[in-house]
């Protein structure tokens, strides 16, 4: 099975989609069983500690066989990521070598909950799924979407970040849907996912002029100064602003793909998928997930990234950011 896996991994490097199907049934058997058996075996071993030698040997052998694929509390999980995608995962290169970001915080939170240690390993985005498949990493968080092709080679958790986009306008602007944007100036954060969305809007609706700003608070200020008629933001962020500012309103852009969002990737039939989903559900219910999203997507991600720093703007930022419950400085969130 090992050899087959190796060959398939090799083939995968060139033809990303092929191979997994032959591989899957085998993995299915051993992988699945290992996950289940392991808990029992461990219990057995403990109980049987005083029993006869033969029994012990049996259990030890079983334990050894299962060790490879099974995770236990206290194990270190290696997370693969590609640290060039702020605010999900990136390095504040001016200051440190440490990978930080929303995904990192979330991974820390989940593994902490499950009692695992976490180690983050950076690699090229294209190498992440092969790394998963060849057991170099235990899971992948890299702002990754669970596409059909990827699902053939990896299991995915539930979506933990939905990239829906909202249009935020002044409450009295009269802009109520996409068509109302005709001839308007639309603000978007430089380098954000919403830039692509804005370009699409430009194609669909005539006369939209797109302008960029480095930071979201700046964009909100531009609405107040009437330079922007509307801005486009991640929906979570947008809700946050509108809840807190009576003079702002927003509507969500129609989202074509329902499953459009980020999920955590695991090895096929990994026991982790279920464990992580459990914690994700808890975090969503308790509102912790939203808090984390706000922490990373509302406010000055660009600032944290060191681009377009502008000291004078900070006073105005306070308005927009006073709703942030967590520490304003995103750097620290990674440490807990």
């Amino acid at each position: 099975m090992k050899k087959a896996g190796f060959l398939i991994a090799g083939a995968m490097l060139f033809t990303a989609a092929c191979g997994a199907e032959e591989n899957a049934p085998e993995l299915n058997e051993t992988g699945g069983n290992n996950g289940d058996n392991n808990v029992e075996n461990n219990a057995d071993t403990n109980e049987a500690a005083d029993n006869e030698d033969t029994d012990e040997n049996n259990n030890e052998e079983n334990g050894a066989e299962n060790e490879e694929d099974a995770y236990e509390e206290g194990d270190t999980l290696i997370m693969g990521t590609s640290a060039d995608y702020p605010p999900f995962e990136y390095i504040e290169t001016g200051e440190s070598e440490e990978i930080v970001g929303f995904d990192i915080d979330l991974a820390n939170r989940i593994t902490e909950e499950l009692g695992y240690e976490l180690e983050v390993e950076d690699m090229d985005f294209g190498s992440l799924i092969p790394a998963l498949d060849t057991d170099r990493v235990d899971f992948v968080m890299a702002g990754m979407r669970p596409t059909e092709e990827r699902r053939e080679n990896a299991d995915f958790s539930d979506i933990y970040f939905r990239s829906a986009h909202s249009i935020v306008t002044a409450a009295d602007s009269g802009i109520e849907d996409v068509d109302d944007l005709e001839g308007m100036t639309l603000g978007v954060q430089l380098g954000s996912i919403q830039e692509g969305q804005a370009e699409e809007l430009q194609e669909d609706v005539e006369g939209i002029e797109v302008e960029t700003r480095d930071r979201i608070p700046e964009m909100i200020q531009e609405i107040h100064t009437n330079r922007f008629d509307a801005v486009i933001l991640a929906d979570t962020v947008a809700d946050n602003y509108t809840d807190d500012n009576d003079d702002l309103t927003s509507f969500t852009l129609p989202n074509e793909a329902e499953e459009d969002g980020n999920a955590i990737a695991f090895q096929l039939d990994s026991q982790l998928t279920e464990e992580f989903n459990g914690v994700l559900a808890e975090l969503e219910e308790s509102g912790e997930l939203d808090e984390l999203i706000l922490e990373w997507f509302d406010g000055d991600v660009a600032d944290a990234a060191g681009a377009g720093e502008d000291e004078e703007e900070t006073e105005e930022d306070n308005d927009a950011e006073n709703n942030e419950e967590a520490d304003e400085d995103n750097n620290n969130t990674n440490e807990d």
Binding site: F6, G10, Y85, T93, E97, D122, S127, D133, D135, A307
Partner: protein
């Protein structure tokens, strides 16, 4: 296209720290690749057909497939087959050493063949053993001839080392990507990385000339 290098200023040290990483990989790979290349070249010119066949097959495989594939196989595949862990750094210099050895062996083989046959006869006539002859008489002379080609190979190695980004070694190139991702300005960090590679290659070139001059002192 407006380029703004000043905005990157805080991140320059981050990219520069990659020089050490790149140099480590290249240096280890170059030394191992060279030694292995010498062995391969000796197999190629030796008497044993079987060894010659192995060396030729090795060379054809490693020259005939993409380096990035070799890197992937070593990094992703080998740990599964052998059941051992291979750190990215180890995978990186191993892949480069193995690949480089194939090229180096061809360079050295040609260099050895270019040494006057009379040198071999003179050594034989003195009763000098094959090993000593190769080590002290033939190879030193071959080296002088092949140094430019060898330098070329090391320069190529330095630049090609950028593909270690695929397995997440924090070399110059990977760091440039990361800074690009962080600052939303992709071109400037890449150009800066290019500048660093260029400087490294220039240093290598100068070093090569110095060594060459030293070897030529007997002329």
């Amino acid at each position: 296209m407006g380029l703004d290098f000043a905005a990157l200023a805080p991140s320059y040290p981050f990219i520069l720290r990659g020089i050490w990483v790149t140099l480590q990989i290249v240096a280890v790979a170059a030394v191992l690749g060279f030694l292995f290349g010498v062995i391969l070249s000796l197999m190629k010119i030796g008497r044993f057909t079987f060894l010659r066949w192995i060396a030729d097959a090795y060379t054809s495989v490693f020259r005939g497939t993409p380096l990035v594939l070799q890197l992937m196989i070593i990094y992703f595949g080998l740990p599964q087959v052998l059941g051992i862990e291979i750190a990215p750094f180890v995978a990186a210099f191993s892949a480069f050493a193995l690949n480089s050895a194939a090229y180096v062996s061809e360079i050295i083989r040609a260099g050895i063949n270019a040494v006057d046959q009379g040198q071999k006869e003179a050594a034989q006539a003195l009763g000098i053993s094959y090993g000593e002859m190769m080590k002290d008489i033939i190879l030193p002379q071959a080296m002088k001839n092949i140094l430019p080609a060898l330098m070329n190979e090391f320069i190529t190695l330095t630049k090609e080392s950028a593909i270690v980004t695929t397995i997440g070694v924090m070399d110059i190139m990977r760091r440039a990507y990361i800074v690009g991702g962080e600052t939303f300005s992709y071109f400037e960090p890449l150009l800066f990385a290019g500048f660093i590679y260029y400087c490294l290659v220039m240093v290598l070139t100068v070093l090569g000339r110095l060594v060459e001059r030293r070897l030529r002192q007997s002329d």
